[in-house]
């Protein structure tokens, strides 16, 4: 008996001891000086050379290390001065950029017109493997017929002239994209692979350290040309792959700012006196694509019936927690060219049934409904949204079987046109209508981003004309017309434009989330 008691006592002691040991650690975040921002996010960057990737987690960091010739507006995609303080063009073919003076790269190299020319030469001399985005935005590389840029030349130290082979409407917006940031020629001439891990730009912060899958640290660049900026001394980007764990880290005070907040956690954050909820302006669309090559979706009436059958309001209230707007066009209203005159398909099962009957399916049909397997801001919970859609379709007699694949498989199979109806979405890169409508619905992009295989000659011509139309009003008209066609032909059921959520500690100020998802942190500070 005695021994038993001894053992119990020993175990109890062990428990108490471990508790005390843990307790004497105290709170990890107390006593930290508030000139360091810890930004918790979902994933790590793949490279710190923005021109070599297409992935958002990289741009989140590089937008603070580098600058572009032109900037987007604080919370929109209007064109603002950047490393170029002025620019002009008479004919849409020759652009003259006047550069900021007295700007230095982090390695001491002078920023001047020669540096800009070298950056453009570097991209143009590359290939699609090396600079995947350059080809998408400027048509090709040096010797390609499709390459839009004729020449980039220096005129003195602080003037750059870019000549185009033909007008390109979104040219200035393309120049403002994070991937076309101007890097130090001294740094990239040492070798591209070396440069990816040792980025050198002119931005408010310079690179310090990268721990793979863990954290990236950047610190204040003392000789930054905009006096008084940045306000922080250091920023640490830290990866927390799990959304709930990231929020836990924020509540515990280990991080100051977290992105990828679940809509369901929004209320909890608003109710926490130490935290603030931040909404990122929406520049995305979540949709249900209907593969038009697969019967019965080859019939326009069936596709329209799907649009009438789905109750978007319930979906948005239940799974976006109301933090989204119902979508009627393939692009969000903030994009120039949005057609607000389009009349949204209302939720009307009766009308849907009529259309099905008209198309020859009075008793409905069976189909596969592909549910997105990963959460994205434009689709926080694919599986549950699919269930709502399934029950909506059951009301009109359509039996939908929900299927899902692991993400790369899902995209691969969908791009081959193997899905009847699939959920997907898109976040804009440069805020241009072309980047939504042409990329997602034109015949040129079948097999890549046009997963529905939708094809329409009239619409295609509108897109091609719009790409070279420099008169903004005429261009808007072209896109409005295209949206009418899309609405009528209904290759999609547009679902929602969501508002991605972030959360921060209460004392954080000056953080302005950008719709592209790349946030400049130079004005951020703690009260």
């Amino acid at each position: 008996m005695n021994k038993k008691r001894m053992w119990s006592a020993a175990l109890l002691l062990l428990l108490v001891l471990s508790t005390v040991l843990a307790a004497c650690g105290g709170n990890g975040s107390s006593g930290s000086t508030k000139d360091t921002l810890v930004f918790g996010r979902g994933g790590d960057s793949t490279s710190l050379d923005p021109s070599r990737v297409t992935e958002g987690e990289t741009f989140k960091v590089t937008v603070n290390l580098y600058e572009t010739l032109l900037n987007f507006g604080e919370q929109d995609t209007t064109i603002q001065p950047g490393l170029a303080k002025e620019w002009n063009t008479d004919d849409g073919l020759t652009y003259t950029f006047k550069l900021q003076e007295g700007v230095k790269f982090h390695d001491g190299t002078d920023f001047n017109s020669e540096a800009v020319v070298k950056n453009f030469e570097r991209w143009a001399n590359g290939d699609a493997d090396k600079f995947p985005y350059y080809k998408s935005m400027f048509g090709g590389f040096k010797d390609d017929e499709e390459h839009v840029i004729e020449s980039v030349t220096a005129d003195g130290d602080h003037t750059v002239i870019i000549k185009l082979k033909r007008p390109q409407a979104p040219f200035l917006k393309n120049i403002a994209m994070s991937m076309f940031a101007i890097a130090s020629p001294t740094a990239f001439e040492k070798g591209d692979d070396q440069f990816e891990r040792n980025p050198v730009g002119t931005g408010p912060f310079k690179f310090v350290e990268w721990k793979a899958n863990d954290s990236i640290t950047i610190e204040k660049f003392d000789e930054y040309w905009q006096k008084g900026l940045p306000k922080l001394d250091k920023v640490i980007f830290r990866s927390y792959p799990d959304n709930s764990a990231r929020l836990n880290a924020l509540i515990a005070g280990e991080i100051d700012l977290a992105d990828g907040i679940n809509p369901a956690d929004g209320e909890k954050i608003e109710g926490n006196a130490d935290l603030q909820l931040i909404e990122r302006p929406s520049m995305n669309v979540g949709y249900l694509g209907l593969t038009v090559t697969r019967p019965p979706f080859d019939k326009k009436e069936v596709r329209q019936a799907m649009n009438y059958a789905i109750d978007k309001k319930t979906i948005i209230e239940s799974f976006f927690e109301g933090r989204a707007n119902s979508a009627k066009n393939p692009m969000p209203p903030s994009i120039s060219g949005y057609n607000d005159d389009i009349e949204e398909y209302e939720y009307n099962p009766e009308k849907a049934k009529e259309l099905l009957a008209k198309a020859g399916y009075p008793d409905g049909f069976e189909m596969e409904l592909w549910a997105m397997p990963v959460p994205r801001p434009y689709m926080p919970d694919g599986a549950k949204v699919a269930e709502v859609i399934q029950s909506n379709l059951a009301e009109i007699g359509v039996k939908a079987k929900i299927v899902s694949f692991e993400w790369p498989t899902y995209l691969d199979k969908a791009s081959k046109g193997e899905a009847d109806a699939f959920m997907l979405g898109w976040t804009g890169d440069n805020g241009d209508a072309d980047n939504f409508l042409y990329v997602l619905l034109d015949e040129d992009n079948i097999g890549s981003n046009n997963y529905t295989y939708f094809k329409n000659d009239e619409m295609h011509n509108l897109f091609i004309d719009a790409q070279t139309e420099v008169d903004e009003d005429k261009r808007i008209e072209l896109y409005k017309k295209a949206q009418e066609i899309i609405h009528e032909e209904a290759p999609w059921v547009p679902l929602a434009h969501s508002t991605p959520l972030l959360a921060a500690t209460k004392d954080l100020t000056g953080f302005v989330p950008h719709p592209t998802g790349s946030d400049l942190l130079s004005n951020v500070e703690f009260k």
């Binding site: 290939d127 699609a128 836990n248």
Partner: protein, 334 residues
């Protein structure tokens, strides 16, 4: 002994070759094109074609296989398609992170598991035995996901005793030399950081230890029960030896072999990385590294990382086999 080790190492060659081949074929059997996934939805078909050509993915599979095999034989594990870094260089920090966590978790699992098992067997059918075995059953069936988030909520948020996640205090990062942070902080004499690193190990360590702990406890108990019934134990007790020594010295020594086998297997598994624990606790370990590689269809990384993990697994089991002969002199390998 040496010739036994030599034989075992030779046997490794066909095993690993088979592994390389199976993994190579498996990663290609799953649908999804690496270039498409790595470049993302935004990529143009030309960019994808160019990447396929650079990666040699446009060649027949057997040419790809022999190129890869040739590389491995020369000690080249290939290059990540996504980050363009050599796998050999990229893998170490992840492996080190996992090793540190796995050893820590294993120490917890062994100390608690073995003792719980011994005491349960010693006082068979007592309240301690019942509670310990119920806890062990709960332990093996515990969803790590839930346990991890609950631990974060309780110990990091409610009580603020421990950090929620990560390997180090974010605002005071460890300067990595070996990437084993316990060693790095000691080398640099940063005992304040060492303390923080140990605190960061506690929650993920316990979460990761739960399952092995439970398995070890049950295995120890059943093995001990068998031994405790033997004649020599009765003799030892009859001699009037203290029960504590009878149990811990005489009985445990003979009961330890199957426990050691289980520990070896569990250790091998822990070193393969634990995706759930690593995800919840933002631990930059090998499990997440491989998981990410699978998601991006990063063939060289998947192949080489699995090869390394398999190699470690086999080596640990070899070490366990050798330990048998140290513990039990009746076991000889020649």
């Amino acid at each position: 002994m040496l010739s036994y080790v030599g034989r075992r190492l030779l046997q490794l060659i066909p095993v690993l070759l088979g592994m390389v081949f199976i993994v190579f074929m498996m990663v290609r059997a799953i649908p999804g094109n690496p270039a498409q996934v790595i470049l993302g939805q935004q990529a143009s078909p030309e960019a994808i074609a160019a990447m396929n050509a650079r990666l040699g993915l446009d060649q027949p599979w057997f040419i790809q296989f022999f190129k890869y095999l040739g590389g491995i034989l020369q000690g080249d594990l290939g290059e990540s398609m996504r980050t363009r870094l050599p796998v050999a260089e990229e893998i170490w920090p992840h492996l080190a992170a996992t090793m540190e966590l796995a050893f820590f978790a294993m120490i917890i699992a062994i100390i608690v598991g073995v003792n719980a098992g011994i005491v349960s067997a010693w006082f068979q059918n007592s309240w301690f035995d019942y509670i310990a075995m119920i806890l062990a059953l709960v332990g093996v069936s515990m969803p790590i996901f839930w346990l991890g988030l609950l631990g974060q909520w309780a110990f990091a948020i409610e009580f603020s005793w421990l950090p929620t996640a990560g390997r180090e205090q974010v605002r005071d990062p460890v300067h990595a030399i070996t990437h084993l942070y316990i060693i790095d902080t000691i080398i640099q004499g940063r005992f304040d950081q060492l303390f923080q690193v140990l605190r960061h190990l506690i929650l993920p360590g316990i979460a990761l230890a739960t399952i092995p702990m439970a398995i070890i406890a049950r295995m120890t108990r059943s093995s001990m029960l068998e031994v405790m019934r033997s004649d020599y134990i009765r003799t030892a007790r009859a001699k009037g030896q203290k029960m504590f020594w009878v149990v811990y010295k005489h009985a445990f020594k003979n009961a330890v072999i199957p426990v050691l086998t289980v520990i070896g297997l569990q250790m091998g598994m822990l070193l393969g990385g634990a995706i759930l624990t690593e995800t919840i606790f933002a631990w930059p370990g090998i499990g997440r590294y491989i998981y990410d590689a699978i998601n991006f269809r990063d063939y060289p990384v998947i192949q080489s990382a699995i090869l390394i993990v398999a190699f470690i697994f086999v080596m640990i089991n070899l070490i366990v086999d050798l330990l048998y002969s140290l513990i039990d002199s009746r076991i000889k390998y020649d």
